[in-house]
């Protein structure tokens, strides 16, 4: 009897504790990873990009419900390209930062300036990969700024919509440490721990690698946020995330792999939302390793991989196998017709013969669990390469080996950082991109000329033609092979109407007005 009473007391207490936390306007999210710091200008990571949209605004907004780019007013109410190299923007005058200070043109100039003329080393990298062509930002008057490019810039809108150009408060940052009128490295570091933006939610609490709490920003210039509070907690273990959702401790969980979907779908109180994500899981080759130098060998390795079978077996057919390095998010530059990558084992065998491949083992580097399904995919590809007579040695190790001269082949991912081929293919394969910088990819003069036409031509048809030529070059001399676009799934409590949106970069958790409804059926 006593035991029974104790048990029911325990159960009642548990129900209070578990069900307690969340009111009608509160959302609790369990994520696989929490960011170590939050600064939209400095961050390029898939973990960090989940969290910026709710708390920060770029100058030019975007309709994220649409897959192709449709620009909307943001911090800027209007913009006009006054010459091929100059964009003029008119700013709102009712923008208030989360700390209560009014946003000025000076903040806008500073936000871009800190990246294009960096004094804090981490911004260097963002200057190189995102804003290499932006030469200056000028304040024309209190409500007008000009962004000036070095070469004619066809991507002004796209670049001024990126996470890296979101607006941050100058005075607040300068005042965080040391001299309140000086911008010191320690100011930027302190900002990344106590971030302040202009977005619909302010960041009320941020414990790096652990927890993030958003609270509605009542002075927001746009539509009011639908939730009073959002608590985001890191729950790194998959089984723990699923248990927390089933147990009613959280309302949404991220990173549910395909083989776990049935666990959630079988529960009447839960549901699953998902999307083909604009990120490629890829295989890259070190073209500068003498063993891998022959383009015919690399072509053969690419042709030997049956990506449709990988999709069926690893992703239940929900992923997308691309024909070229292209996403629907590219809009007019989406070119699936290019057929850059295909499966043809007979041709692979022929090319191996022509390349004189003598059976030497090819080392394939992969982390154990960094990418979903990565190790399984490596093992399947090992079999596929064996089918055409290539020996693969799987080397499981965590460190990045992209700059290692002995690297031969490895897996990687290539996200969409902004919706243009420059913002995905270009980040990694531009003549000054990551791969060339790390020395495993060496474009020739012809490639560089094609790149210049593609990157800076203001004529869309010309850009399209040049990108097709670049893909032709890549087909003949492959440094990369996109395997598939993964299907990312989220588990939700049934009453939560939310889903990932195709107009965002990968993994963004958007809880702004119109993007989420609680208490829905």
């Amino acid at each position: 009897m006593e035991k029974m009473m104790r048990r029911s007391l325990l159960a009642a207490a548990a129900a209070v504790m578990i069900g307690g936390g969340a009111g009608a306007q509160e959302l609790r999210v369990g994520v696989q990873n929490m960011a170590p710091f939050l600064d939209p200008g400095r961050d390029f990571s898939n973990v960090g990009s989940q969290f910026y949209v709710n708390a920060f605004d770029p100058m030019i907004g975007k309709d994220h419900t649409r897959i192709e780019s449709a620009w909307l007013p943001g911090i800027a109410t209007a913009w006009k390209q006054v010459s091929p190299t100059v964009m003029e923007l008119t700013l709102r005058d009712d923008v208030v930062f989360h700390n209560g200070e009014k946003m000025t043109a000076e903040d806008v100039v500073f936000s871009i300036e800190r990246i294009i003329n960096p004094t804090f080393p981490p911004y260097n990298v963002r200057k190189r990969d995102t804003l290499p062509n932006i030469a200056a930002v000028e304040m024309v008057d209190a409500r007008t700024v000009r962004v000036i490019a070095a070469k004619p810039e066809p991507l002004f809108e796209t670049l001024l919509n990126t996470q890296q150009t979101m607006i941050v408060p100058k005075k607040y940052i300068a005042g965080l440490t040391g001299d309140p009128n000086q911008l010191e490295n320690t100011d930027y570091e302190a900002f990344a721990l106590k971030p302040v933006g202009t977005g619909a939610y302010r960041i009320a609490e941020f414990i790096p690698n652990q927890r993030l709490v958003y609270v509605r920003h009542d002075a927001y210039w746009g539509p009011k946020a639908p939730l009073a509070k959002v608590t985001i907690t890191r729950i790194p273990e998959l089984s723990s995330r699923i248990t927390a959702l089933k147990n009613g401790e959280v309302d949404i969980i991220t990173n549910v792999p395909p083989d776990q979907l049935s666990v959630l779908e079988g529960d009447a109180k839960l549901k699953v939302e998902g999307m083909v994500t604009p990120i490629f899981h890829v295989i890259i080759f070190n073209t500068q390793n003498p063993k891998m130098a022959n383009p015919k060998l690399r072509q053969a390795l690419s042709l030997a991989i049956d990506r449709k079978t990988l999709n069926e077996a690893l992703w239940g057919g929900r992923a997308v196998v691309p024909s070229s390095h292209t996403y629907p998010q590219f809009g007019a530059l989406y070119m699936p017709e290019l057929n850059t990558f295909e499966y043809n084992p007979a041709k692979a065998r022929q090319l191996l013969k022509e390349a004189g491949y003598d059976g030497f083992p090819i080392r394939f580097d992969t982390g154990a669990a960094y990418y979903t399904n990565a190790l399984l995919a490596a093992q399947a590809i090992q079999e596929m390469w064996a089918e055409v007579g290539v020996k693969m040695q799987i080397n499981v190790a965590e460190p990045w080996t992209g700059q290692d001269p002995t690297m031969m082949a490895r897996n990687w991912s290539n996200p969409l950082y902004f919706p243009d081929p420059v913002g995905s293919f270009g980040i990694m394969w531009a003549p000054t991109g990551n791969s060339a910088t790390e020395g495993r990819f060496k474009p020739d003069a012809a490639y560089e000329a094609m790149w210049e036409r593609f990157r800076f031509s203001t004529d869309l048809a010309e850009r399209k033609k040049a990108y097709a030529e670049l893909m032709g070059w890549i087909k003949e001399n492959p440094p990369v092979l996109p395997l598939y676009q993964p299907y990312e799934s989220y588990g939700l409590r049934r009453g939560v109407a939310w889903k990932p949106l195709p107009g965002h970069i990968p993994y963004v958790l958007d809880f702004r007005a119109g993007k989420l409804v609680l208490g829905a059926n």
Binding site: A15, D129, Q210, E237, S240
Partner: protein, 305 residues
């Protein structure tokens, strides 16, 4: 007593210096954290700038001297990943980890020792065998398997207990059970064996013959003599307990010290790792000292002078 504590403190300092030095060297031997701190595709100039920014361009010897001079000033450095004082990072997490270790230790001693005494008294009876059987199970099941079983029953199926985090006392029930099962089982067996050794001694027969009350015989004459090996075992198990907590914190998403140390090891976050190992080493050294003091408390023959 003062002399004992002084000598102990001296030995403790040497131990900590050796540990800190070994950790300092070992972390740097496994490679640079720069690949984890910075994005892929850094050009050589930015890379060099970043390495200098983190202070990793200086010769290892310089870094070592700087580390110690800061340490002696009470400055434990900034974590590479979070760029915050490591003492702050730990302070956020230490409370819940220490509480988990504390509740586990209490359950272990509070349940393990009495059960050990009882099973010794119940030797040859069904009840005693039943307790031993359960203890063997607790000893044999890996803690993470037991933890997942608990989660499955009490969170996933019954929805009685919260599964993730450490916000309320209810959050402590399953992690404490999962972590203490092994140690309770171990302690039951050690205490039982130690008691059985003692029960056959002449002075026990004398105690019974004097007509003392059973609880006086068992506790004052029996348990007190049996406790010496039991205390040794508790001291030795402390390090196992800390490493067990790493696993249990992961299963129950505790964001505790164990989780922090695993992350720091994977990303080669030197300052966090160095501080964390020092904290754990300090804890173990302090517990060992307490064990020495406990010997003296239960055995007057042990002198601390």
């Amino acid at each position: 007593m003062a002399g004992f504590l002084l000598r102990k403190a001296g030995r403790m300092a040497i131990t900590l210096w050796v540990i800190a030095t070994v950790v300092f060297a070992a972390t740097r031997l496994t490679g640079t954290p720069i690949d984890f701190l910075m994005p892929e595709g850094l050009d050589a100039a930015s890379r060099a700038e970043m390495i200098a920014y983190w202070g990793l361009d200086r010769p290892v010897w310089d870094q070592y001297v700087a580390y110690w001079s800061a340490l002696l000033r009470g400055d434990f450095g900034l974590g590479f990943m979070e760029r915050r004082p490591v003492s702050t990072i730990f302070a956020e997490r230490l409370g819940q980890s220490a509480t988990l270790l504390g509740t586990t230790l209490l359950v272990t001693i509070g349940v393990g020792v009495p059960l050990g005494v009882l099973t010794a008294m119940w030797r040859g009876r069904a009840l005693g065998s039943a307790v031993l059987l359960v203890a063997f199970l607790g000893y044999a099941i890996p803690n993470f398997v037991f933890a997942i079983l608990l989660l499955l029953v009490f969170s996933f199926l019954l929805h009685w207990l919260p599964s993730a985090g450490s916000a309320t006392p209810l959050h402590y029930i399953m992690p404490t059970l999962a972590l203490s099962a092994y140690f309770v089982a171990a302690l039951v067996r050690y205490t039982r064996n130690a008691m059985l050794d003692v029960l056959g001694q002449d002075y026990m027969r004398t105690a019974w013959a004097k007509g003392l009350a059973p609880h006086v015989v068992m506790l004052k004459h029996g348990l007190r003599n049996a406790l010496i090996p039991v205390i040794t075992v508790i001291g030795l198990q402390m390090t196992t307990l800390v490493s067990g907590a790493v696993v249990i914190e992961t299963v129950f998403s505790w964001n505790g010290v164990g989780d922090l140390l695993v992350g720091a090891t994977l990303r080669r976050d030197y300052p966090v790792l160095q501080f964390g190992v020092l904290v754990v080493a300090c804890a173990v050294v302090v517990v060992n000292t307490l064990v020495d003091l406990a010997y003296a408390a239960v055995d007057p023959r042990v002198r601390l002078a």
